[in-house]
């Protein structure tokens, strides 16, 4: 094992390979608060990549209801149990803006737990059986209620559920890649996308076993494993629609709830995803304690119990929800870019506009300005321009009854 730095955990951790970050990392921000579980993303992926024979059980993108839903069933609870050493806590008194923005994780990662348990493999894990993959909608819209007689009110509902949108996290330290004894899994230097080489794979299912997010899937027809490919032809700009510009994946572009913004995590503070993730810390990684440094980031749902959310997204939850509830001027502008274009935005600029609204939210003052936010593509060209206030069109009365 070597020691690598995992900024989600705020510390170094053991990993079988040296730290080697891509030039820019495939990443996305999902605003859980807005998802309506319409599954359009799920079908967009299915109809592109997994409609084929032997892939009947495969949903590279899926949306599950928490706390009861899970595809495969109970994947997260089962993996959390495997790394549980009774002290999976966080030390949050000291933080470093760059190296440990959420504090320091004191528990074991999937890699450390395997070493401690002397498993003689790289990470802990398990293979979900076929019946566990069979019902991706299991538990959908089922609420959890601790106090049945109580009505729900913010900030935390006593009766709650929320949707979690999942795909392969194209992790910085992938469990799947570490697990593969044949090095059939590789992470691309140019964009950090993690792929399974279909020629080298021999169907050992070590990746199915050791990906904590359970995103590699075995295909009985070809006897090898497959996983989300991040729609890489689109990322490479090979779809004619965006004229050579990097394009967002099928699941991102199809999102009806406009909850998704895709981009590349890089060092540019004016890159919208980089800003939301690293600078504003509004969006948080899913189960950072697994230790793979996943690259899909979530704005946590404001109504769910905080203890549950802290376990799921780490100690940054409270700050992120506070920020989301009373958004700053810049945050509101960046959040307006969600789903405004399917070309990937590399940089944004805000042109200030007049103040249009003011109120108090949970005792805090909120002011809204009708700023214009502009998104630029890889080539520096403007690809999108929008305002905070959406334009309103009033229908001519003569069309009231027409379709």
């Amino acid at each position: 094992m070597t020691l690598v730095h995992n900024w989600h955990l705020g510390r170094r951790m053991e990993y079988p390979y040296f730290e080697s970050r891509p030039k820019r990392q495939f990443a996305a921000v999902f605003n859980i608060n807005r998802c309506i579980a319409c599954q359009t993303c799920t079908m967009a992926c299915k109809s592109a990549w997994t409609y084929n024979k032997g892939q009947e059980h495969m949903w590279w993108n899926n949306v599950e209801t928490k706390p009861y839903g899970g595809y495969p069933q109970s994947w997260d609870v089962k993996t959390l149990k495997l790394i549980d050493n009774g002290e999976n806590t966080w030390y949050t008194d000291e933080k470093d803006e760059k190296l440990s923005p959420y504090g320091v994780y004191e528990g074991d990662t999937i890699f450390e737990a395997a070493a401690k348990k002397n498993l003689n493999q790289w990470a802990v894990g398990y293979i979900p059986e076929d019946k566990e993959w069979r019902s991706p909608n299991f538990g959908e819209d089922v609420a959890k209620s601790n106090k049945p007689d109580e009505h729900s009110s913010l900030p935390e509902h006593s009766r709650w559920f929320f949707y979690i949108q999942r795909l392969c996290n194209h992790c910085t330290y992938p469990g799947c890649l570490a697990a593969c004894p044949r090095k059939a899994i590789y992470k691309r230097k140019e964009d950090g996308i993690v792929l399974i080489d279909q020629k080298r794979c021999r169907g050992y299912r070590k990746c199915v076993e050791q990906c904590p997010y359970k995103k590699p899937m075995f295909r009985g027809l070809t006897r090898v494993s497959e996983k989300c490919i991040a729609c890489y032809p689109r990322i490479e700009g090979r779809d004619p629609i965006t004229k050579g510009r990097p394009m967002e994946t099928r699941c991102m572009a199809a999102c009806v709830g406009q909850i998704r913004l895709q981009g590349f995590l890089d060092d540019n503070p004016k890159n919208p995803v980089t800003w939301l993730i690293k600078h504003d810390k509004l969006a948080l990684p899913l189960y950072p304690q697994f230790g793979t440094e996943p690259n899909i980031y979530y704005i946590p749902p404001r109504w769910a119990p905080r203890s549950y959310l802290r376990q799921m997204f780490g100690p940054g939850v409270d700050e992120a929800i506070d920020k989301f509830m009373v958004p700053s001027r810049e945050r509101l502008a960046v959040m307006s870019l969600f789903r405004m274009t399917q070309s990937i935005i590399f940089e944004y600029k805000i042109e200030e506009g007049p103040k249009v609204f003011e109120t108090m939210i949970h005792g805090k003052k909120f002011e809204m300005y009708n700023d214009t936010v502009i998104g630029y593509g890889e080539d520096g060209q403007e690809i999108v321009r929008t305002t905070i206030e959406e334009p309103v069109h009033i229908r001519d009365p003569k069309h009231y009854n027409s379709i």
Partner: protein, 324 residues
């Protein structure tokens, strides 16, 4: 960890130093990450020699265990002790403790018969949790002399000393028996729904959908032999030059047959003595070679390095043919 963290802040340099030190120690025990070094004993071939008996025989019309069994009657058996694979990550195996190997040749073809006990027959690997039973023979490439002084890794060879492997798979044998020579997902899930109506007269027939199977089946499109229908064989011909390097050959020359009864597998693997593939081991009557082997117990989720191995090479001598 709290202590560790503040300690790191205080004396990061010392800590960093000890990290390098422990990594150096680590390297001494491990030849590569997750790979432990081998003992001298493992570089010494066993004393017992497998004699490949010369037998005059007519090639049976059906190459099955029943028709080939008689030819092995007078061949001497070598007992191979098997153990858990404990050198390269992931470690595993240990459920099969031994196997018996016999070998014959008729001047044209060499046959190896391997028998071992396995209480469960696992001849399908379609469901995610299912793994196949399998056995592999391994031979050094080229003519080599293996001695403790002349190291030749009995575990997958190494970069300078590659090996040829013959890997029999129980599911490949099952594939041979069905239409199209590949058990489809319906074999495992007979009542599943799918959109692929293969009857061109049906109202649901969709040609584009059906032709897309090949393109959108990664393994098939990439020409992975494991994914191909109609392989026409039960044994895969491979090369390796160390852990994790197993590679399917372009040219497949080996075949085999099997029989499972009363908790025991009998597998016969055969190939012509000589081939024109430079990546193949060649057998000359009157000549010598070595073999090593591994058995996978699908019922115990064995696959790849999780297997029952023999940790030493076993010498082979081929009898001369009668007219030599």
């Amino acid at each position: 960890m709290i202590k560790g963290f503040s300690l790191f802040k205080l004396c990061g340099v010392t800590l960093l130093g000890s990290v390098f030190l422990s990594m150096a120690l680590f390297a001494a025990e491990e030849t590569a990450p997750g790979v432990k070094g081998m003992s001298e004993e493992e570089f010494t071939p066993t004393k017992e020699v497998l004699t490949v008996k010369y037998v005059q025989m007519d090639k049976p019309y059906h190459m099955d265990v029943e028709s080939l069994k008689g030819a092995f009657k007078d061949a001497g058996a070598v007992k191979v002790t098997l153990q858990k694979q404990d050198k390269a990550f992931p470690n595993g195996g240990g459920s099969v403790s031994g196997a018996e190997v016999k070998a014959i040749h008729d001047g044209l073809t060499v046959y190896f018969q391997i028998t071992w006990n396995d209480p469960t027959k696992n001849a399908r690997a379609i469901a995610v949790q299912e793994f196949r039973d399998a056995v592999a023979l391994m031979f050094p490439l080229g003519s080599v002399e293996i001695t403790p002084a002349e190291h030749f890794s009995p575990r997958m060879g190494d970069r300078e000393k590659p090996v040829n492997l013959w890997h029999w798979k129980a599911d490949w044998e099952a594939d041979l028996l069905v239409k199209g020579e590949l058990e489809d997902v319906e074999a495992q899930y007979p009542n599943m729904h799918d959109d692929f109506n293969l009857n061109p007269y049906s109202a649901y027939y969709h040609r584009e959908l059906i032709t897309s199977v090949e393109v959108l089946s990664g393994g098939r499109a990439a020409n992975n032999l494991l994914s191909q229908p109609g392989r026409g064989r039960t044994v895969e011909d491979l090369n390796a030059e160390g852990f994790g390097t197993l590679t399917t050959q372009e040219h497949q020359d080996v075949n085999g047959c099997s029989h499972y009864e009363e908790g025991a597998w009998t597998v016969i693997i055969y190939r012509s003595l000589i081939t024109d593939d430079p990546h193949d081991v060649q057998f000359v009557p009157g000549g010598n070679s070595y073999f090593n082997m591994a058995v996978w117990n699908g019922g115990e989720q064995d696959r790849n390095g999780q297997k029952n191995i023999s940790s030493q090479w076993h010498p082979i001598t081929l009898e001369r043919v009668a007219w030599q």
